[in-house]
């Protein structure tokens, strides 16, 4: 029996299958420091134990995207080692705050299967769940990937495509955010006087700054998440591949864009949910990432007077500033757009 992991092929998945992923991971303040060094994130809640405790957290929470990346990384060897492409994700909800010292583990359940007409590949839908030391879900999300078949002649499974929400409903937001102490949130320390009510649907915000990415940086990040996807690390192979380059992990782009978005959204301190996103174009080392945001919707959270939710579209570009809000629409496509992310952020009222 082969000792190394060949990964799962399309016919290895079946509906309802639950996969326990390897390598539980204790998150530490060391990870927090590296995350800061990799992206320069400046949100006060995650940066300062004192600030977080003042507003009602027991400790500074781990950045939501760091939690996402660690959970995502665990799923790679079982779900996407033989993937042709990551097609999408949806219904990503942050359910419990994560603190330094928590050990994260992950499982995935197969919730959909569809063989492609070429009979060489198929699409696998999984709901992946990250859990803390106590076993409480901290995060769950759906993603779907196109995976190779091992044997093209293998029979197709019963087709099942799950129905996924276009956006996470407002009612289910906020579980990972404790009630904020009234009057405790300090605008000056947080970096902006703009609260929830100061943002209006339709508003666009240029995040101005740009960040050039180096090979060492995205490799350090992706290894930190114990994400083993080969395309990010192996120049010897990728030199002969589609791009001739190592491809930067899409999550690295999300974290860069989110960190840049501080400049204009400094009080959007918590990602409550990710509704979906597209990696419109690849990013490579040497490219400079810019970002802009649009407010899609402003929502009250049922039963909460401390925070409100903004549904935001976060667009990242490469090698192009965002002062004119380069967009990502089929008929007016900007070739420098690399990310189109739709998420819910919480802001203090």
């Amino acid at each position: 029996m082969a000792k190394n992991n060949p990964g799962n092929f399309f016919e290895d998945f079946h509906l309802g299958q639950v996969i326990a992923h390897a390598t539980p991971r204790t998150v530490t303040t060391g990870d927090v420091s590296l995350y800061t060094a990799l992206y320069g994130s400046r949100f006060a809640v995650q940066s300062s134990e004192a600030f977080a405790c003042a507003i009602g957290y027991p400790h500074a929470p781990i950045d939501d995207l760091l939690v996402f990346h660690i959970v995502f990384g665990k799923t790679v060897p079982d779900i996407s080692l033989n993937a042709v492409a990551n097609l999408g994700y949806a219904d990503c909800r942050f359910l419990t705050p994560v603190y330094a010292g928590d050990t994260l583990s992950a499982t995935s359940e197969v919730i959909g299967l569809r063989e492609n007409s070429n009979r060489r590949t198929g699409v696998v839908y999984v709901r992946s769940t990250g859990r803390n030391t106590a076993g409480a879900p901290v995060l769950d999300y759906v993603r779907w990937v196109m995976v190779h078949k091992r044997d093209h002649a293998a029979s197709a499974p019963q087709e099942h495509v799950p129905v996924l929400p276009k956006a996470v409903p407002v009612e289910s937001l906020g579980k990972a955010c404790p009630p904020l102490k009234p009057g405790a949130y300090d605008n000056a320390l947080a970096g902006s006087a703009q609260r929830f009510g100061d943002y209006a649907p339709g508003e666009r915000i240029d995040h101005v700054d740009g960040m050039t990415v180096e090979e060492a940086e995205h490799q350090l990040a992706t290894r930190l998440y114990q994400n083993t996807a080969r395309i990010h690390f192996n120049q010897f192979i990728e030199a002969k591949g589609r791009f001739g380059r190592r491809l930067i992990y899409g999550g690295h782009v999300i974290s860069l864009a989110r960190a840049l978005s501080f400049n204009g959204l400094a009080n959007a301190f918590h990602i409550a949910a990710i509704n979906g996103g597209r990696h419109v174009a690849p990013l490579f080392a040497g490219d400079t990432v810019f970002a802009w945001s649009q407010v899609i919707e402003r929502a009250d959270l049922p039963g909460r007077e401390d925070v409100g939710a903004l549904r935001l579209r976060l667009i990242a570009t490469r090698n192009r500033g965002c002062a004119d809000f380069p967009d990502c629409i089929a008929e007016d496509y900007d070739p420098n757009v690399i990310l189109d992310l739709d998420y819910w952020a919480l802001l203090p009222r």
Copy 2:
């Protein structure tokens, strides 16, 4: 109202103005590890909890320059986002030791203003203070920057240029260093038998080793300090700029030179004060940094028999070894000199 931060222009500052800077930051052992990885610093007091406790600290203190960089980084968005140039700093005093777990925040007071004769820019003098969780000052220093005016026609403020000391007086040194336990300082573990009394004014020390800097390294460092100055990160813009390159944060050079200075000053375990410094020339990725030191003065500290202070001049060069002590004097200027720093270090007697 614009949501992103346009930074302050010259006419936004007024004498006596106090600015609370954003993003308090809890310093952790993760930051310590990154600092070690970035510079390779080997001073025993900061590296070893056991060594620090043996000599009288309650914990290993955070490297003085790491504290400086974190506090400095906070001031950037408010003070120097629209700066033409950082002109200087002075009277930098380390006042309280910082330990892992402390949350640092920063404020700046405007202590001087002088419009330039071209009426397009002005010089702003601020005293910036870093504070720990309890609000005690850990560090304060003056810096002055040349800042753009938003409106060239705006009237000039009353000119006020503060009087700054050429050097921090000996009487005020040592506040961030607890009394050392007699006989507890171990030369072998510290890496040198050379104590305070073994150094003589005028003496020059070649620190021998060189360190080549990579883009990823200085970017990781500067983001770790949450320093957002654009010139360090954005190759897309800088490619068209003055240097065609990202400029390395001057503090990165100071930390590199200080780490190199271990080889010859292993017992200079604490920076008590920085009297001033000049970034004589820029540093870019690919350059190799060397350093040498000269003892300017040797001073007893009033009331202390455990430690003494050396006033040191620390010169860093790029792409040139320091065996012949390349200098930075107007009439005999070495074009490879990049840093001329004047500071007080404490050494055990």
Copy 3:
């Protein structure tokens, strides 16, 4: 007296000499995070506090190679600053688990000396020992280096070449591994169902994945270990040197190969001993590292029913995949082989 460290030359060493090395170092979770970011290691015992505690450790132990690199780094300024070459190491035994918070220090004893016939260099054999805060040995190993003489005319010491074991005897393995709780080791979380008994002597395992190394990465790693060997950091000097490049620290290669070996040896959770190793060829930034392993021997540990030991040969290559197990034998030498390491790993039964 020179203040900087000239390092020791051959005639500075004498048989029985014990050298206390500088800079004790407290290991923290920050170091663990950096180690993960540098190598992407996925062994569950070191990655997860919860997993480690479940099987019987009081905490997640620090990766064995991180301990090795930190101890090794301390010996460099005293042992190998004037080395022509690192010739070998042997009899490396891990004796006590190291946990975050432990302070490591190191001493070396000179156990052998042999002047070379050219009278310009000599070989120094040292046994180096790393100790924790309480002074308990956590690691010891022998290495021998060829060192320059300061004065070629200096008389030769009495020649003494120590007898070294070809392999660490089975009886002395396992001291740094507590008894595992029966039934507590979870294959799914660990990433493999292959236990001790599933591996057979002679078996070869391709670890499949490749990792490209960047200058910033190996510099960050080597500085993290406070290893000051100049050849790793100084491009200005090395540009004129033998390779024209900075040479990557050999320990970086070992850690990369070990991390890659997870893919096929996921349950080989602890390095109990290193029998010896050769850095067959140098590694430079831009190269991609691959690895494969061969099982040399399978050994029961006296008195232990929880774990068994595999003696493994770990071969790393540069810019060549390992599907056909490129070897490192005199008569059939593969020029892409860079590392040939012989070690004992523990696996659960």
